[in-house]
Symmetry: C2
Subunit: 334 residues, 2 copies
Amino acid sequence: MRTTITDVAKQAGVSMKTVSRVLNNEPNVAKATRERVMEVADQLDYSPNLAARGLASSRSYLIALLYDNASPSYLTNIQRGAIEACRQQGYHLLLEPMTAAQTESEEAERILRRMNVDGAILTAPLCDLTALRNSLTRLDIPYVAVGPQDADEGAAVRMDDQDAAFQMVKYLIDLGHRDIGFIAGDPDHASTRHRRAGFDAAMQDAGLHAGTDRVVQGDYTFRSGLEAAKRMLEDPTSRPTAIFAANDDMAAGVLSAANRLNIAVPDALSVCGFDDTPIARILWPQLTTVAQPIHQMGRKAAEILISRDKRRDPATHTFDYELIIRGSTARAGT
Amino acid sequence: MRTTITDVAKQAGVSMKTVSRVLNNEPNVAKATRERVMEVADQLDYSPNLAARGLASSRSYLIALLYDNASPSYLTNIQRGAIEACRQQGYHLLLEPMTAAQTESEEAERILRRMNVDGAILTAPLCDLTALRNSLTRLDIPYVAVGPQDADEGAAVRMDDQDAAFQMVKYLIDLGHRDIGFIAGDPDHASTRHRRAGFDAAMQDAGLHAGTDRVVQGDYTFRSGLEAAKRMLEDPTSRPTAIFAANDDMAAGVLSAANRLNIAVPDALSVCGFDDTPIARILWPQLTTVAQPIHQMGRKAAEILISRDKRRDPATHTFDYELIIRGSTARAGT
DNA sequence: TTGTAGGCGTTATCAT
DNA sequence: ATGATAACGCCTACAA
């Protein structure tokens, strides 16, 4: 039998309520008592039973990470951050993948209901689904959205995608590029809109104009980047000197297309991506890209959920990005 | 207030025990009763309180995924599989990263004790840590190891790394390669030994011998592959015609080194990897590699844990691998 | 086939 | 500052 709070109480010569107080850092316990209890608990390798605690306090000490089709590196980073925060507070992270389709059927709500969590972290494409947000509200599950989003309601942890895209394009322009292509992401993601807006703004700011054939719709996959780049590069007489892909996977597609067409990168074509995923360093040349502090965002999201009733955190946190300049971009016409 | 089992019982005009029976699919319930209860439960959006259920039955319906420093794509695949199995049975997946260092201190055991799970999935490097296995045994937490491992005790889900490596090298030899380099993985991983053994066996089988400068120690990172390849390729008068890296990240390093040294792949150098991670398709040329059914392995591991007392699963499952031939390998001397 | 009583280990309430 | 006792919601054991 596992040691219980009663064992500790007996051994320490106090009531179980006192032990409970000590373990939960409640006030009104004599210092000496507190220390004695701690010692006994340690010695007995006592740790509270989550289920019992949950039943009595109607808290589960569980936080769910809701995601859909997230890229592996993004997902693991969010997880890492969230878990750090959870560990510090005795919480645990539950994984709950969920498709957009599910959020509109009864299914998502069933899944949510079943999980009995104290809060949920909503990542990437899921934050923008009103159906899901409504479900969570209806079930009274607090949530924090991670990633760019339009709705300003609710807690959120974000990065300024638009400004990051703006700066990246400005960097290309400063390198002398005038004919710049843009490969947009999945239209269902809010980030797609923001990154596109950043591109547009920077071009306009510089008095440049990208023709319609210079902006191609992708969907954040490698293949879509490859196809988009092929189209943009197929005519040797009219090629952009730089292509900005809205994420690294698509930028990898651009590099691949350039390889196939024998276009030297960065000499004849500068390429840049977004996200600074591990592949950015693995490609040749290494990718100029935007680094998001994903790990910190995951951490912050969990912290907000855990402390939601204690401190009154400002609902929204915006993190800084960083332009990572690598070998895939160079001065135009080198 | 959330609806409880008592609400359902009242509404259906039966005792709560009967409701409990229906919900747990226990026998000895009249068909009509069962249907009525189901209907009421549905209608009331009832779902059992995990904590209460756990407290009463001393099962938590939680399974932990223990991992250390796993590659993102490996991790997400395992997760996907495990969650599929969990969902079907009303279980949830808890994420618990854990460093090798922690497993040897008290810390790992504290973490394990705190989590109150019904079972644990042990991935990659963790399976080989006796300290961790002992802790789990001591805490009476059933576990399934995923990945190659030496100790034959306990349930395990694995793939024959050695045979896969053997076949890959055999494939290179069949292409006419005689001078083949091998980049080994992190010496702390069991897979490293197995893949190396496969390489050795295939070479010996073909009457070939790899000089000591043809086998270089890496550590499964891109950078280590890059460094190893540089060393292996620095002397233009004595270069292997093929390099087999023990994982895709290191193979990416080899490609990168070849790029820097202006060695054409696959014309002058064939390169292959192991794992079939997403980067295998993103690199140029695309990587010949070994695909592991990681997703199924995760699924199976969870299934074993969940059904451990019902069926008597054979303790160990071995999955098939698949050689994926892509553009990075070609006939020698093309 | 169905129901009743008791307890799982913790926190909350109210005394002392 | 500390303690007794009653929830919390479900399952197990045993009855009926």
